[in-house]
C-alpha cells in the first residue's frame, strides 16, 4: 500500500470521510471512491451498483466494492436519485484502481437538496483526516 504522498486527491472535488468523492456537473453530481480507498482495497474484482432511478438519503449505503478478500460498502455523500451508473465497471472493475477519479466513476446523482454538497470536505480537509 502506498504512502499518502504517492496518492492523488484532485482539488476540484469534494470528499467525505467514508472515502467517496463528489464532482459537481451542472445540476448533477458524479460520485466515485478516492485513490486512498482503491489503494487500501487492493485489486478490485467487483463493483455492485444500484439500479438507475433509485433514491438514497445522504449517508445511506448505495452499493459495494469488492476486492478478493474484502467488501466495502459505498455510502451516499449526498442524498438524491441515481441518474446514471457506470456500466463499464461490470466487465472492467480494475478501472477503479487505475482511474478512480475518471474512468472509475460509479454513479451520477440528481441531488435531493442543492446545499448538501457544501457541507462536504475539501481536499485539504479530507487529507487532514487521512493523516490524523
Amino acid at each position: 500500500m502506498k504512502d499518502l504522498s504517492e496518492l492523488k486527491f484532485p482539488d476540484d472535488l469534494h470528499y467525505v470521510e467514508s472515502h467517496e468523492w463528489v464532482r459537481a456537473e451542472g445540476g448533477r453530481v458524479r460520485i466515485g471512491i478516492t485513490d486512498y480507498a482503491q489503494d487500501q482495497l487492493g485489486d478490485i474484482v467487483y463493483v455492485e451498483l444500484p439500479a438507475v432511478g433509485k433514491t438514497f438519503a445522504q449517508g445511506a449505503p448505495f452499493g459495494s466494492v469488492e476486492s478478493v478478500k474484502a467488501v466495502s460498502e459505498l455510502y451516499m455523500p449526498i442524498g438524491g436519485k441515481v441518474a446514471e451508473i457506470n456500466a463499464d465497471l461490470e466487465n472492467s472493475p480494475e478501472v477503479v484502481n487505475t482511474g478512480p477519479y475518471d474512468q472509475g466513476w460509479m454513479i451520477v446523482v440528481e441531488p435531493a437538496s442543492a446545499d448538501e454538497v457544501n457541507g462536504l470536505l475539501t481536499r485539504d480537509a479530507y487529507l487532514g483526516k487521512l493523516k490524523g
Binding site: D43, V45, E66, S67, V68, K69, E94
Partner: protein
C-alpha cells in the same frame, strides 16, 4: 541449523479429467443385465451427460497424483487457530465403514437399526456429560449448521414467551458464521468490543442488553485463545433481561474435563466433531455440529429424537415445540460413529489430558515466539495464541508473506487475518497431538522466517517456492470467474 521439513519430491502433473480418456473406456464393472431393455418415453428422454470415458487405471492414477499435491494432517502440522487440526485416528475409519452401518438405509423400521440408534443415544449422553449440559441433538451437519439450530431455538423460545426479539449481541472476536447464522434467523447483530485484556467485560454487555435482544453469542475460549473470565457475570446480565446465552464450542479442545458449560450459564452450545472430536476434515467437510442445550430448552430440539420406548430405541417425532428439521435424515452418522469411537478410545482422563496438552503446546509456542513476533495480548493463552506482523512491517513483510514462506519450511500456515480485532493476525493452534519435536521445528521455522524478513525480505514475498504452485492470481479468478470445464 536443523534440517527443515520442506523439500521437493516426486510430484507428477495431471491434466483435468476431460482432457484425457477415450470414448468407450469404462472404469466401472457394469452389473449383469438380466432383464429386458425398455426405452424411456421419448418426450422425457435425455442424452445423458458429457462425461469423459476413463479406464480404472486412468481414474486411479488421476486421483493418486492429485492427492500428492495436498498437504494433510497425515503429512505434517497444521497450526490453524480455531480449527483444531488434531490427528484423525484410523480405527475410527474402520468403525464408520462397518457394512452394517455403511449399508444401512435411514428409514429402516426401528427393529432393524437398533445398533445405530443405540450409538446415537449413547453419544448424546456422552456429549451432555462432557459439556455439562442436559440434552443433545446430533442432526446438524456442521458447526455453522449447529449455530443455525441454536438461533432457531432462540427464536422459538422467545416466540413462545410472546416476546419476539430482533437483536443479538455478537463480540468483535466472533467467527463470521456467528453473525451469518444470526441473520438467517432475522436477528440484527449488535457488535460489542472486547476490552484491553482481549475479553468481554460485563459492562459492555450490560450497555446493550435489553428486552429487544434475544441474547448473546460467545465463543469460550475466544478466538484470541483467551478464556472469557467474565462469562458468568455476562450470562447473568443476559438472563436477567430474559435473553439466552449461545456458546460457539469451536474451541472446546481447550477445556475438556475442566470447564462446565452449564455452570457458566450457557444455554445452547454447538460442538464441532471435526475439531474437538477428531473426525477428519476431508478437504473442507463433511463435519458434524451437534447442539447441546440446558434442560429448559430441550423441548425445542430438532426432531426426530432417539428415545428408548418399551424394549427398544426408536426415532420419535413426539415433540410439539421442536424447531423442526435441519437435514432430511438424522445427521452425519458416519462422523457420529467416528466421534463416538474417539470418546470411547480416550475416556475421561485422557480427554482431560487432551486439553491440558493442547494448552501446554500453545502456551509453550507463545512464550518461545513472543520475542520474535508481536503478541498483542501478552496474557496466559489457552489452546491457541495470536501474534501479528507488526514487527515485520518495517521490512514491508506482511502476515501473508510469512504464511506463504512457512509452506517452504514444511508447515501449513496458521490461521491468518482472523480474528479481525488484530490487524495482520497470526492465530496458532498446535493441538495436543503434535510432539515437542514438531513444535520445536515449527518455532525454529517461524524464527528463521523472522530473520529472513530482516535480512532478505524478498524471499518471503516470492514464497512459496517449493510447492506445486507458486502464488496464484486470485484477482483474475474473481474478476473473470472460470468455475468449470
Amino acid at each position: 541449523m536443523t534440517d527443515f521439513l520442506g523439500t521437493t519430491g516426486l510430484v507428477l502433473d495431471e491434466p483435468l479429467l476431460w482432457e484425457q480418456g477415450r470414448k468407450g473406456r469404462c472404469g466401472f464393472s457394469l452389473p449383469r443385465r438380466d432383464v429386458e431393455r425398455r426405452p424411456a418415453p421419448e418426450a422425457l428422454a435425455g442424452e445423458g451427460p458429457d462425461f469423459p470415458d476413463l479406464s480404472e487405471v486412468d481414474v486411479v492414477r488421476h486421483y493418486t497424483r492429485l492427492s500428492t499435491w495436498n498437504f494433510s494432517v497425515d503429512t505434517g502440522m497444521y497450526p490453524l487457530g480455531s480449527c483444531t487440526m488434531k490427528y484423525n485416528p484410523k480405527t475410527n475409519e474402520r468403525q464408520a465403514a462397518r457394512p452394517g452401518f455403511a449399508g444401512a438405509h435411514p428409514l429402516l423400521p426401528s427393529e432393524l437399526c437398533q445398533g445405530a440408534l443405540e450409538l446415537m443415544a449413547a453419544l448424546e449422553c456422552l456429549l451432555a456429560e462432557i459439556t455439562g449440559l442436559d440434552a443433545v441433538t446430533l442432526q446438524p451437519g456442521a458447526g455453522a449448521h449447529g449455530e443455525l439450530t441454536g438461533m432457531l431455538i432462540f427464536h422459538a423460545f422467545h416466540r413462545r414467551k410472546g416476546s419476539a426479539r430482533s437483536k443479538i449481541i455478537v463480540p468483535d472476536t466472533a467467527h463470521g458464521t456467528n453473525p451469518a447464522s444470526a441473520s438467517l434467523c432475522g436477528y440484527t447483530s449488535v457488535p460489542i468490543a472486547s476490552n484491553e485484556k482481549g475479553i468481554l467485560s460485563p459492562e459492555a454487555v450490560a450497555a446493550v442488553m435489553d428486552d429487544q435482544t434475544c441474547g448473546i453469542m460467545v465463543t469460550n475460549p475466544n478466538t484470541l485463545g483467551l478464556f472469557e473470565e467474565n462469562i458468568k457475570a455476562i450470562a447473568d446480565i443476559v438472563h436477567a433481561k430474559g435473553g439466552l446465552v449461545y456458546c460457539d464450542g469451536a474451541n472446546m479442545n481447550a477445556v475438556l474435563g475442566m470447564a462446565h458449560m452449564g455452570n457458566m450459564g450457557v444455554d445452547v452450545l454447538h460442538l464441532n466433531l471435526h475439531k474437538t472430536f477428531a473426525t477428519p476434515h476431508g478437504g473442507g467437510g463433511p463435519g458434524a455440529g451437534p447442539v447441546c442445550v440446558a434442560k429448559h430448552l430441550e423441548p425445542f430440539l430438532p426432531v426426530p429424537r432417539v428415545r428408548f420406548v418399551d424394549d427398544r430405541y426408536v426415532l420419535s417425532e413426539d415433540f410439539p415445540l421442536s424447531i423442526g428439521k435441519l437435514q432430511a435424515f438424522w445427521g452425519n452418522t458416519a462422523n457420529l460413529i467416528r466421534a463416538y469411537s474417539y470418546i470411547l478410545s480416550m475416556g475421561a482422563e485422557d480427554l482431560k489430558r487432551v486439553s491440558q496438552l493442547a494448552v501446554l503446546n500453545a502456551r509453550y509456542i507463545k512464550e518461545r515466539l513472543k520475542g520474535t513476533y508481536h503478541l498483542p495480548y501478552d496474557r496466559p493463552c489457552m489452546h491457541e495464541c495470536v501474534f501479528s506482523d507488526k514487527h515485520q512491517q518495517a521490512h514491508k513483510v506482511t502476515t501473508l508473506d510469512i504464511a506463504k514462506r512457512l509452506m517452504d519450511y514444511g508447515f501449513h500456515p496458521p490461521t491468518i487475518y482472523f480474528p479481525l480485532v488484530v490487524p495482520g493476525a497470526i492465530m496458532i493452534e498446535p493441538t495436543e497431538t503434535e510432539s515437542k519435536e514438531t513444535i520445536d521445528l515449527f518455532i525454529d521455522a517461524m524464527k528463521a522466517i523472522a530473520a529472513e524478513a530482516r535480512a532478505n525480505p524478498e524471499t518471503l514475498r516470492e514464497a512459496p517456492t517449493r510447492c506445486k504452485r507458486r502464488r496464484l492470481d486470485e484477482t483474475a479468478a474473481a474478476r473473470k470467474p472460470c468455475l468449470r470445464g
